[in-house]
């Protein structure tokens, strides 16, 4: 049987090790996306809506953070969480929690920038109407985030995709411990180096399938959202 055939068999037979790795990957990346979104969506919306001191500086910083090399993020978080680091007493280095923190940091600027991009034009469209009503800042924020929901969700999916495909940071802070912190990307890197191409390829197939699914979702949500946009 070819390597591809063996890999396909691993996927189709729902191999326990493979399922464990995929499950952990999804759990870590989904949690990281959720945590990053909790902060990035309101802040991205606020940057789109209001003028305030240091706004431009915040925009430049957040945009620059999008290009953050994952290994640098991994290194910084490693230094923070290592025994000698300021957060070392929590003992979370080489745990899924550390991986979630690293991925949250990596996704945060992406979700923030995409949220801001989604809300900027909407705020221009809505500004006069919302100004004409007695509307509180919180109501304004909620209205714009809700009405930009299709684009915001697309941003979330992009962030989730980035988290899932990330390898540099999670291998540094997670340690790639079998059965504990081993996720799809780090396993692929390790198993390939060991010559165990069946498992690496099987995980590659799963990762690629998830990436295609995410892009299909982004496309579908985008086309659904366009029905609600005024084109006249």
């Amino acid at each position: 049987m070819t390597i591809l055939g063996q890999a396909a068999e691993l996927v189709l037979s729902a191999d326990a090790e493979l399922i464990g790795i995929v499950g952990l990957s999804l759990r870590v990346s989904l949690t990281a996306t959720l945590i990053a979104s909790l902060f990035a969506i309101p802040l991205g919306a606020a940057l789109a809506i209001w003028q305030f001191p240091f706004r431009q500086i915040l925009i430049v910083i957040s945009t620059s953070l999008m290009a953050l090399p994952p290994v640098v993020v991994g290194l910084i978080i490693y230094l923070l969480l290592s025994r000698a680091g300021p957060l070392g007493h929590y003992g979370i280095l080489f745990t899924p929690t550390a991986m979630i923190i690293a991925q949250s940091v990596l996704i945060f600027p992406i979700v923030l920038a995409l949220t801001r991009e989604a809300i900027l034009p909407l705020n221009r469209d809505y500004k006069n109407l919302l100004d004409a009503w007695d509307i509180s800042p919180i109501q304004r924020l909620k209205t714009l985030i809700w009405d930009a929901r299709f684009a915001v969700v697309t941003g979330l999916l992009a962030g989730f995709g980035r988290a899932l495909a990330e390898v540099g940071a999670v291998i540094i802070v997670g340690g790639n411990i079998a059965g504990f912190t081993r996720v799809m990307t780090t396993t692929i890197a390790l198993e390939t180096s060991k010559g165990n191409l069946q498992l690496a390829l099987a995980l590659g197939i799963v990762l690629l399938s998830i990436a295609i699914l995410i892009n299909a979702l982004i496309h579908w949500i985008g086309s659904f959202g366009r029905k609600y946009q005024v084109t006249r």
């Binding site: 809505y126 004409a132 007695d134 209205t143 009405d147 029905k227 609600y228 005024v230």
Partner: protein, 230 residues
């Protein structure tokens, strides 16, 4: 006093004065048409009297209260309808939500008034220009304001849409609402207006019953405007 009062109101942008020392008082009743040529300051005056923008000088009050403090008592409709990215029904529900109410009966009434019942669950973005403007008026009326401010609501609309919108305005006034409408459609002003406010180059030149304004305009600018020379 009840109603609208402007006391020595001026407004400028980047050093250019766009409205000059405007003074007038008007009771909350009937339809008040704000007339004037393009660029006279009609839309600006409407925004000022609603409290969307504040004057550089002077005071605007409604029922004795500074205008920006009681916006919820008025509805405002823009020349180009602003459509929320929601269904027609959700657009109408939105102002109710802001004030903490949820009345499907009120929404159904407004859908009926605006002849949009059949389109209630469609995305509002799919409406035609006339339908969108009717929805915008219904959305402004759903919180039961006492005053409706309309900024050229029928520009670029066909006669059938204009007729439906005028019917909505008349229904509101019949229910003891008061309307301020800016328009450059003289025929519409003649059909609807009880009082005319004529402005030109940012100055209020005439404020009188519509019948008098159209029969005997007092200023050369108003005469030129009515004869199509301004």
């Amino acid at each position: 006093m009840t109603g609208l009062k402007l006391t020595d109101v001026s407004y400028s942008v980047d050093g250019t004065q766009l409205l000059h020392h405007i003074n007038f008082a008007q009771d909350n009743k009937g339809i008040n048409a704000i007339l004037g040529p393009n660029g006279a300051g009609k839309s600006l005056l409407l925004s000022l009297i609603h409290g969307v923008i504040r004057p550089d000088m002077g005071l605007v009050t409604w029922d004795g209260v500074a205008t920006h403090k009681n916006k919820h008592t008025r509805g405002f409709v823009f020349q180009t309808p602003i459509v929320l990215r929601r269904s027609v029904r959700a657009n109408l529900a939105y102002p109710l939500k802001i004030i903490g109410k949820n009345s499907s009966a009120a929404i159904d009434d407004m859908l009926e008034l605006s002849h949009l019942t059949a389109l209630a669950d469609q995305p509002a973005a799919s409406l035609s220009g006339g339908e969108a403007q009717r929805m915008a008026i219904a959305r402004a009326l759903i919180t039961r304001p006492t005053v409706l401010l309309l900024d050229e609501p029928c520009s670029n609309l066909d006669p059938a849409s204009t007729k439906l919108i005028e019917a909505m305005i008349r229904t509101f006034v019949a229910d003891s609402g008061s309307v301020y409408i800016s328009t450059h459609d003289l025929a519409q002003a003649k059909r609807l207006a009880d009082v005319v406010l004529f402005i030109e180059a940012g100055q209020l030149l005439e404020h009188k019953p519509a019948e008098d304004f159209f029969a005997t305009p007092a200023t050369p600018q108003a005469r030129a405007y009515l004869s199509g020379d301004l």
